[in-house]
């Protein structure tokens, strides 16, 4: 499974999101490859899921990957819930 964490520049905030998403996925026993990048790189990359903020989701509409929105990047409860809702356990 391939997951992209996406932010405006692909440098800072997407890396923070990647760290927390990887932690949540591994605690659930879900094997996934999580990559962080900016919106324009993500647009042309295939993936199963894209995790990003509401602010940037608009720029990714129409992408073949399923979009998952996280509002608070530091709230593990929200991240866990988003994963439970969208990513079925393998």
């Amino acid at each position: 499974m391939k997951v992209l964490s996406v932010c405006g520049l692909g440098q800072g905030t997407s890396l923070i999101l990647k760290m927390n998403v990887e932690q949540a996925l591994s605690e659930k026993g879900i094997r996934a490859d999580v990559e962080h990048m900016d919106v324009s790189s993500a647009s042309s990359m295939s993936a199963d899921y894209i995790i990003t903020s509401n602010e940037l989701a608009e720029g990714l509409e129409g992408h073949s990957a399923k979009l998952i929105i996280v509002n608070n990047y530091f709230d593990m409860d929200e991240i866990n819930q988003a994963i439970d809702e969208h990513i079925a356990k393998a």
């Binding site: 440098q11 905030t13 927390n20 602010e55 940037l56 509002n71 530091f74």
Partner: protein, 148 residues
């Protein structure tokens, strides 16, 4: 790498608006000589172009630009505002803690973001950082927050 050292933190600051706050967080980095002055402009430009997506959580913004925009050393500053301001984010406004990130392409960059994530993943730490009255308070929160 420099992570929230004394010269990189300003407590009880005042900012007119989001751009002003981003600039001030950038000036803290430039004064500590971890970024060049042009990096501050790049931080503001990123906000203008990409919007307030870097308001990552309630009360918290992490403005930054790219390593090639003038970063000399991986670094994190903190501008703690006396009065929170609006960045225009749909769910995380108003912002009180602005962490200026000198984004480097080195391994240190990853280490810095890990430290920041460990600190901010705990809501209790965030609340304490918001009410801290001095650098000494902030330092205590960082030290105990990392130890937990």
């Amino acid at each position: 790498m420099k992570f929230l050292e004394e010269g990189l933190v300003k407590v009880g600051a005042k900012a007119a608006d989001a751009e002003d706050a981003i600039k001030q967080a950038g000036v803290l980095l430039a004064d500590a000589e971890t970024v060049e002055d042009v990096y501050i402009d790049a931080m503001v430009q990123s906000f203008q172009e990409n919007g307030p997506y870097f308001v990552l959580a309630p009360h918290i913004a992490i403005p930054h630009a790219r390593p090639e925009d003038g970063v000399k050393e991986a670094s994190v500053s903190l501008l703690q505002l006396k009065d929170p301001i609006t960045f225009g984010h749909s769910s995380n406004d108003p912002v009180q803690l602005i962490f200026g990130l000198g984004a480097s392409s080195s391994e240190e960059h990853v280490d810095l973001l890990k430290k920041l994530t460990v600190l901010l993943n705990k809501e209790e730490n965030v609340n304490q950082l918001r009410t801290a009255a001095s650098y000494r308070d902030i330092k205590t929160i960082i030290e105990t927050g990392e130890g937990k």
